[in-house]
Amino acid sequence: MAAKFKLNFILICAIGLFSFCPNFVSAYSLHVLIIGIYYAVMALAWNFLAGQAGLLVFSQAAFAAMGAYASGLFILHSGCPIWSGLIFATAVTGIVGALLGALCRKLNGTYLALVTLSFAEIVRIVITNEDRWTRGTFGLQVPGLLTEYSKVHYFYLFLSLFVIVLFGSKWIGRSRFGFKMLAIKDDSDAAESLGINTARVRTIAFALSAMASGLAGATYAHYLGLATPEMGSLGEMFLILSMTYVGGIGTSVGPAVGAIVLEVAYEQLRDFGQYHLLVFAALTLFVVRFMPAGFSSLVGVFRTLKKDPESKATT
């Protein structure tokens, strides 16, 4: 118990310190950080399904694109205020996520991966080809979320979104529902035999994860002023996947750390063009092979150095 409080305390301090960033860094670095936070939210949403419930899906980026277009199109055609677009996007992705989750309620492993992969590609292709509505590969220009463009304000906006998703997923992870997801991940048959409605738990988990992605995607599009089909591409999906694995899949904070580190690294590697993908792939392979718990295992190393090995078994 004490360890959990300590972790939360450190987290809040870290986020507090992080929130002072706009005072010190350039506009360009701030932009990089904002995108890093967007990916952090996406990685947390993916980790919610893949890490906590053991559902390896490839539809996360597609839900972000869906959220972006849902919000953009809703605002452009209804003339409603922009924040209502965010709510609309969250609702749409939540419903579609629940439907996809219900469809996949009995699928696991490769089959689940294939269905969600196909879903992601369908979303991307529909967005690309329905250019009457979406303007295809040109991207859809959407109005900015804030009336006055200010990177600092967007930074805090994304940071609040991040805090909500981070502590939301932590809270759900420790709730009864979170334990049910862990149980399903370990043994679906046993969970079912103990009265856990696995189909319902999975559907809800899908919906929650899709909602977080949809909201993040919509906010991201309103920040850039543009929604593109690329947001839902598999390249984005694999980026989110690497971030989660590098940070530590299944941990509550690891994916977010992985996302920000890799996004900053991505910007540094920009000069090398497409070669950055090579570096990321190598890093991901290295992490998966030698430290399956990602960066979070480094924290574990520090912890074991401080405490005697006996107490490790009880944490």
Binding site: L182, D189, L194, A199
Partner: protein
């Protein structure tokens, strides 16, 4: 005594393989019923049908005299039918206490008491993946009890246990029956333990219940001897 669960004329086939051919099984309240039979006679299939993991082609299931229709295993659990598996299936990455907690149906249940019952108190905070086979089986049992069942289905709990461990397990079964007042149906190949522990013995051969009754008498039945020894 009144029947808590009754399975009437259960038929189940996998493709052309007729596994259950009109099985009748009645379980009385507070009884320990052992289910024996040669390999492939349909014992586990019958369990899966009662626990909702398999849907029978035909037949009726009664719970406390009322017909029940179970489509999913979690519904069977909600009705008070708990089961364990032949190969124990603990949630390996949860602690023993959390394993029991996730299955717990009534908030006022004392989870530590359940772990104490199966002698896992000192392992409460260790992850289930560190347990040996006997401990895993006992954890599965505690977890099934946490769902507040009326009837407990145990699939070969003594397989892989040492002699001393199965002795203890026999005592444990009686303790559970007396403490919770529930019925236990128990698939077992360790006949010595069955004779000592069970109130009643049913023998399933080729998808049919051939005989049921007092354990010592059943084992002397000519049909049972034929099924096991082929003479």
């Amino acid at each position: 005594m009144s029947a808590i669960v009754a399975a009437i004329e259960i038929h189940k086939q996998f493709g052309g393989n007729r596994v259950l051919r009109g099985v009748n099984l009645t379980v009385q309240k507070r009884e320990i019923l052992a289910l024996v039979g040669p390999n492939g006679s349909g014992k586990s299939t019958l369990f899966n049908v009662i626990a909702g993991a398999l849907c029978p082609e035909s037949g009726t299931l009664l719970l406390n005299g009322e017909e029940i229709f179970i489509k999913h295993p979690h519904q069977a659990c909600a009705l008070g039918i708990a089961r364990t598996f032949q190969v124990p299936k603990p949630f390996l990455h949860l602690t023993c206490l959390d394993n029991v907690r996730v299955a717990n149906k009534k908030p006022q249940t004392d989870l530590m008491h359940l772990l104490e019952l199966v002698q896992l108190t000192d392992k409460a905070q260790s992850l289930a993946k560190h347990l040996n086979i006997s401990e895993r089986k006992r954890l599965d049992l505690a977890r099934a009890l946490a769902t507040d069942p009326q009837i407990l289905l145990l699939d070969e709990p003594m397989a892989g246990m040492t002699g001393a461990e199965s002795e203890q397990f026999s005592v444990l079964l009686h303790k559970i029956r007396d403490h919770f007042g529930i019925a236990i149906v128990w698939i077992e190949h360790v006949i010595a333990a069955v004779l000592k522990t069970a109130d009643r013995l049913s023998v399933l051969v080729d998808g049919k219940m051939i005989v049921s009754g007092q354990p010592h008498l059943v084992m002397k039945d000519a049909r049972v001897i034929e099924a096991y020894l082929g003479v």
